[in-house]
Amino acid sequence: MTLPRWVPAVSWLGMTLLYLPLLAVAVLSFNSTRYGQSWGGFTVDWYARMVSNEAILSAAWNSLVLGVISTVLATVLGTLLAIGLNRRPWPRWFKRGSDLAINLPVVTPDIILAIALVGAFAVLREWSAAFKPGMTTLIIAHTTFQISFVTLVVSSRLTTIGKDQVEAARDLYANTGQIWLRVLLPQLMPGIIAGALLAFTISLDDFVVSFFVTGPEATTLPLLIYASVRRGVTPEIHALSTVIVVGTMLAIIAVTWIQAARTAKPQE
């Protein structure tokens, strides 16, 4: 197809909007000036200070722990949900209702999920002290919105693989355990991994929900950056942001590359 000449121009404008500010921060992270933005010379000092900054290290650790635990929980729950919904002859009303329920957290603005959870935790706290704002509430909150994303991804994989192999396994007298471990789960694995990766990214990325449900001692990286913006930023935050941006970019490009390699390979 031939496109009008302004189409690439507008596209590059879009790309510029996406990347220009990130580039600005990357440049500033190598600037030796402590206050303000005037160029004082090239330095990698901020990166060195970043890796010895207690607050940043503990926030990074919190983000990682939170991401891993909530992703594991959400992946297990979401995968079971997807299998249960897709592989049982549920009545129509139940299917429609579940569809709606699963899509709800995806389209609801996160601030709504956040305040709903804040209210829920306030009620639950009366009943058990375990729900005091902190790591536990963060993990519960993240798991709650991650389940939907895992279920959606795994469901689409379930549709792709179809039922033939499970039926064949049944005909060959496999019992339920064997079917799950030898047939269903291995075939589902790419979907489960993709769902888990998506859930993990969303957890790392989340600011709004964490902002509302966390307590004073559980700070994640996004919360730390927001707080530093409020207090007045140190250049270590520039360095940290740049590291996060580059890390995310490498991760996504790697995933795209692996997927491209997979699709290029003939079907097993």
């Binding site: 249960g84 002859p89 609801t108 996160d110 709504i112 829920a120 709004v208 996004p222 941006v245």
Partner: protein
């Protein structure tokens, strides 16, 4: 027939429900619906229990909270009142004020203008990516998606840095006399829009791309052959085919924009309040949860409309196949 008709337990020789209920074939073996439901409930039960406790019940609670009263010391009193709703509509203890309606209006306008801007930039981008060689497309798409995976706070902070008083953009504006010397370009409304568009653009491009990629170009050629002008070709040949993607992109851009509070907070300054900021204040410093919940209800209703819209899109898609 196998001894084990249900596959439920290898030691179980007969299933009590098979004997009395009509038998169906599912996954290639004989069983009954109640039995399947029983095991299915086990699979879906865990997740739905979790979502019930931490999502559906809290959302229902939130809706109830919108009609509760505020206690004397900031707590919640469960007595029914319309007061929060009428306060959102402008009637507070000091008489009528436009403040809250203005906040709602500003949020809707911001979300609408952001969506239009994103569509204007995102639609050409979708065509541009779709016209690249097949090998380059996933990478370009990934490049568009990468910023959306970088935390929003970082990206907004990046805009603050980019628009800072000593950066080239501000320097140009200062020399053109648009802003006073030494001033930065935020907090301004322009800064909010820059932040919004760059934050939402990936969510506009992705659904648009999926429908542009599947575009049937023979219909476009047919329109050309029938001497349709450029505009009519675009409208009836291209736009009509992209409608589902366009609707999905609109919803996926509009709803998150409506609930935004980080960008307006960091780039718009204290005067640029949105529903999101209002909710945050009521749940934070103001400690008036019922009123915050009422403002939240506005967003919930908007997102329910979104769900309904997406459902129509997916049903149409299913009908087309």
């Amino acid at each position: 027939m196998r001894a084990n008709t249900c596959g439920w337990n290898s030691r179980q020789t007969t299933c009590w429900s098979c004997a009395i209920k009509p038998v169906i074939i599912h996954d290639g073996y004989l069983t009954t619906k109640p039995h399947l439901y029983g095991r299915g409930a086990l699979l879906v039960g865990l997740a739905f229990l979790w979502m019930g406790v931490f999502l559906f019940a809290p959302l229902a609670g939130l809706s109830a909270l919108a009609f509760a009263s505020r206690g004397e010391y900031g707590g919640v009193e469960w007595t029914f009142t319309w007061e929060n709703l009428s306060r959102l509509a402008g009637h507070d203890e000091f008489g009528f004020s436009w403040n809250h309606l203005l906040i709602l209006w500003r949020s809707v306008v911001l979300a609408a203008v952001t969506t239009v801007l994103c569509l204007l930039i995102g639609f050409p981008m979708a065509f541009w990516i779709a016209a690249r060689p097949a090998a380059a497309r996933p990478l370009l798409l990934a490049l568009v998606m990468v910023p959306s995976c970088v935390n929003l706070v970082i990206r907004t902070y990046a805009w603050q840095q980019f628009l800072g008083s000593q950066m080239p953009a501000a320097w140009v504006a200062q020399h053109l006399g648009l802003v006073p010397d030494g001033a930065s370009l935020y907090p301004t409304v322009t800064a909010v829009y820059l932040g919004m568009v760059s934050a939402m653009l990936p969510f506009t491009v992705l659904p648009l791309y999926t429908s542009v990629e599947r575009l049937d170009w023979s219909l476009v050629e047919a329109a050309r052959d029938l001497h349709a002008g450029r505009l009519r070709t675009f409208r009836h040949g291209i736009l009509a085919q992209c409608m589902p993607g366009l609707l999905a992109a609109t919803i996926l851009t509009f709803i998150p924009s409506l609930g935004m509070f980080v960008i307006s907070d960091m780039l718009g300054g204290a005067k640029f309040l949105l529903v999101g900021n209002l909710i945050q204040q009521q749940f934070g410093s103001m400690n008036n949860w019922p009123f915050g919940a009422t403002a939240g209800l506005f967003l919930v209703i908007a997102s329910l409309f979104a769900l309904w819209g997406l459902r129509i899109v997916s049903e149409r898609e299913a009908g087309r196949r």
